[in-house]
């Protein structure tokens, strides 16, 4: 009977799938390492306005983010419905923006400290008064390069 059990020499052996887990794990580790978890969860509503003449913010490590908007539902009881500034994970007053920018700037490597951009992620329903206060603070700490972060789209859609 062993005569039958023996495979013929011409038969193609099945492809071994033993290395499949390794390949998949390799991919998995790739995605695990490139995934950037958000370092701060948004506590404000943040629907950005549209603009068409935009430039991309290429280098992430040179950007300081400032969020402005109405506090989300769960925070409205405590903080009200007026637009607020969010720095990292907490709400802040306009007067704290300067310190925050200086602190963030100090965290960056020396050679990047002069080329930082401040990205203002402002909800489209915010009022300019608050933005002016932020801009004033930024001017005080000499962080003059700002980027009004927007979605790409027709700017006139903002007006509706």
């Amino acid at each position: 009977m062993s005569k039958f059990a023996k495979k013929k020499d011409g038969e193609v052996p099945a492809v071994s799938t033993a290395s499949l887990p390794d390949i998949v794990f390799m991919l998995l580790f790739f995605f695990m390492t490139v995934t950037v978890m958000k370092d701060s969860s948004l506590k404000v509503e943040n629907v950005l306005p549209n603009a068409s003449e935009i430039k991309k913010l290429e280098k992430k490590d040179r950007v300081i983010y400032i969020y402005v908007g109405k506090p989300t539902k769960e925070y409205q009881k405590v903080f009200g419905t007026e637009p607020k500034i969010q720095l990292n994970d907490k709400f802040a007053n306009p007067s704290e923006v300067g310190d925050y920018v200086l602190m963030e700037r100090a965290k960056k490597p020396q050679e990047l400290q002069n080329v930082l951009t401040t990205a203002l992620k402002v909800d489209k329903n915010a009022k300019m008064g608050l933005i002016s206060d932020i801009k004033e603070e930024l001017r005080k700490v000499n962080a003059l390069k700002v980027n009004y972060t927007t979605y790409e789209g027709d700017a006139f859609r903002n007006l509706q």
Binding site: M32, S52, K55, K56, A119, V122, D123, M128, A155
Partner: protein, 201 residues
Amino acid sequence: MARRAGAPEVSAGSMADIAFLLLIFFLVTTTIETDAGLDRMLPPIEPPDTDVIIKQKNIFQVNINKNGQLLADDELIDLKDLRSKAMAFLDNGGDGTCSYCQGVKNPESSDNPTKAIISLKNDRETKYSTYITVQNELVGAYNDLRNREAQRLFGRKFVDMEAEYLNPETPDDVKEQLKEKVKKIQELFPQKLSEAETSSN
């Protein structure tokens, strides 16, 4: 008793499935987003040492009130007309020193694109979205004019050239070439957009 000889081997066949599950989770949650927006420079806080006298006709005053209405050079205009108005002002070339301008050469308007200043003023109650639209239109006016000149001189759009120049993946030698061109166009129509402090009422 042969069956008890050793613990049965754990099947590794499902390992691939588990790994796939994790892989798909990370694939779905990964967002490789690039932020984009309007780049602006704020004016430095120290006033310049020398007082520069700017002729009134070289300033294009844009005012936004709290209802989102627009006052450009003391004229109530629609937001849609702002871009063409700003372009006409910048491109005017009133004193005839501007060889590339195609404007109407109105002596009452700006002398030269290099002298023309757009001043933007807004109310504290102005909505941010309106402000962004106005900024977008003003930047657009500059970009349109720069595109026109770049097309004439280099046969290519200015915004494309600038995007390629700013892209970190562009090789250095190409960058070097583009730098010259981008600079040249920027000098033809320098972006002089001044933002006054907001008024409180």
